[in-house]
Amino acid sequence: MAGFFERIVHLDRRWIFLLVLVSVATPIVIPIGLPVTTTGPTRAAFEFIEALHEGDVVLISFDYGPSSAPENDPMAEAVMRQCALKKLRFVVCALYALGGLGLANNVVAKIEGEFPNLRDGVDYVNLGYKDGAAAVMRHMGEDIAGAFPTDVHGKPTSEIPLMKGVHDLRQVKLVFTAATGLIGEWWITQVHPQVGIPVIIGPTAVSAPKYYAYLNSGQLVGMLGGMKGAAEYESLLRARYPELAKFYTTTRAFTATKGMDGQTVLHTVILLLLLLGNVAYFRQRRASAKARA
């Protein structure tokens, strides 16, 4: 037994890697279907968008790259679906240099397929990518068409029906930023003070703890923290709009809810390892103390 705990204290990390692989892969192959409970920041975000009125304009900013797509894509899709169902008009832009535009195009194409009645230029518009992030945001606070002279198809922004009456961010009711890194934070620290527009952020799980400070100070109206936040939003959406269930139950499409099964199993395995590791550590410490005595 002592030998077992000794081996645990000095466990080769490759065994841990193997356990992680099995923990994450198994629920993907054999889905468990665990329930998802919701938290305050996600509910606040959901209810804020629910309280908007038909025809209100929402800006959805793609501020992440392919590396965090499994966390951020489900958030962007869920918010866009909610906007489509509530008949909110949404403006899409991408400010992340490496891959943001491609991801924005993919998600917009997906939503176009799910809601064929949506009209490009009337119900939504994709303004594409612009370099300069913070400078572009400040410019949008003054003049969106100045920051994005054309949409992603090359049509002049001033000729797009949706953009008539939406001159700058003051006419937009909400900014939703799906973000990794700094760009999401700039919406809060630069644009929100500039024009007073409410901001909801969907950061990666690693960055989420930092944004609680902004939630507490009222600079954010809601947050979707990582894949858990995305899964919570999906469950809120399904509960409010049962017709969306079909988008979250097809076996081939990845959703945050499906990802939570793997995360749950992984957390359980890590907690067991922590418990074993600490028990082994204390036994070793006691044995050393006895040997010294």
């Binding site: 009456g165 001159h167 700058d168 003051r170 003070p193």
Partner: protein, 396 residues
């Protein structure tokens, strides 16, 4: 008889249209009046770079449900009104950013209702227009909404300069121990003893981020130490500007220590701009070359844990430092020493012990103390229902 018949016919001819129009016998209703906006002003937008005119108004009561506020502009002496914008009620302001400095404009504002019919029965009635006084835009010398910020900056600069003045006068400035910086010499000495290299990674951000500037300043000190001890130094870079600065800093450090012969160009090398390609390359380098000491100082993103954990796996002594809190937990869990928050910025003062730099660190601490006191006052005030204190610190 004929007269009576004629009068009756006349009465019938007069009454008939009225009877047809108003089956109930009352007068036809007038088209609903659309009210005009109130208190309409057009002025140069204050505190801006020009080319913008600020229009403000109050929405009148009794607006139709589908009302929109139509704004038009003319450039005297011409009388042609061109549409500028259409705004929903409830906004009360619009900034015309198509105005140009040097031109005088007049603005007209009126309410349009798509569903309301006008007096001829056609939908899309507009209310009476209200015309503004002539207005012209120009750039301004000061943004008044940032006055509180300017006062704070001036005070801060004053405190820093005052503290530097005190330090220059010879007064001893105390600075608490920072374990990570104390361990710098120990780490480099260890690397020299076992004949392995020192690896210094200055973060992923460019030189426009102050953390990168702080990192390069610390790199200068590390390079001096490696020059002194004769240890090998490897500085892989993700950002090209940081790479250029790092190379100059290391070259200057070796020159200053009188060991230019030990400096090699390939010590400071550029890897790639992509975050994870850089991480893969540096991790592989750590595993192959097994450096004895690794410094992870600067602005890191998701790659922080991969680099730190790989460094830990090769048995290197690791000193990390970052001001942004996001990646700090990973550094704390995997590195031997971590510089947290502003310890990174105090490093150059700590390592060089230059009085001027120490004075600025002291000034920064005084400013922090003032902020803490203000914070406590704000909490007390808010607890007693006085919310204006927080508004004093709001800035645009």
């Amino acid at each position: 008889m004929r007269l009576a018949a004629g009068l009756s016919l006349l009465a019938l001819l007069v009454a008939a249209p009225i009877a047809v129009a108003t089956p109930t016998g009352t007068l036809p209703p007038a088209p609903p009046e659309i009210p005009a906006p109130l208190s309409f002003t057009a002025v140069d937008r204050p505190g801006d770079s020009g080319d913008a005119i600020l229009l403000t108004w109050q929405d009148p009561p009794g607006l139709p449900a589908d009302a929109m506020i139509e704004i038009r502009r003319a450039q005297p002496p011409a009388d042609e009104w061109a549409e500028v914008a259409e705004v929903k009620p409830g906004v009360g302001r619009h900034v015309d950013t198509t105005a140009r400095d040097g031109n005088v404009y007049r603005y007209e504002i009126r309410v349009r209702s798509a569903a309301t019919a006008d007096s001829s029965g056609i939908a899309g009635a507009v209310g009476p227009p209200v015309v503004s006084d002539p207005a012209a835009s120009h750039d301004n010398w000061f943004r008044f909404e940032r006055t509180n910020s300017l006062i704070a900056v001036v005070l801060f600069i004053g405190i820093i300069l005052g503290s530097i003045g005190v330090a220059r006068s010879g007064k001893n400035i105390f600075i608490r121990k920072i374990a990570g910086l104390n361990a710098l010499d120990e780490a480099i000495g260890r690397a020299t003893e076992i004949g392995k290299k020192v690896m210094y990674i200055p973060g992923s951000a460019s030189m426009d981020d102050i953390q990168s500037v702080a990192s390069i300043a610390i790199l200068g000190n590390v390079a001096r130490a490696t020059a002194r001890y004769g240890a090998d130094l490897d500085v892989p870079n993700k950002d090209p500007l940081t790479f250029a600065s790092a190379r100059e800093a290391v070259r200057a450090a070796y020159l200053a220590e009188g060991r230019p012969d030990l400096f090699r160009e390939e010590m400071v090398n550029y890897v790639t701009y992509d975050q994870f390609a850089f991480t893969a390359a540096v991790s592989a380098r750590m595993i192959r070359e097994r450096p004895a000491a690794i410094f992870l100082i600067g602005y890191f993103f998701a790659e922080s844990l991969i680099l730190a954990e790989t460094g830990q796996s090769v048995g290197a002594i690791q000193i990390a430092g970052q001001a942004d809190p996001t990646q700090l937990p990973f550094f704390v869990a995997t590195c031997d020493y971590t510089l947290i928050g502003e310890e990174l910025y105090a490093a150059s003062a700590y390592l060089t012990r230059e009085p001027v730099l120490l004075g600025s660190v002291r000034g920064q601490d005084i400013a922090k103390a003032i902020l803490i006191v203000l914070g406590i006052l704000g909490i007390v005030a808010a607890s007693f229902g006085v919310h204006g204190v927080a508004d004093l610190f709001r800035t645009q």
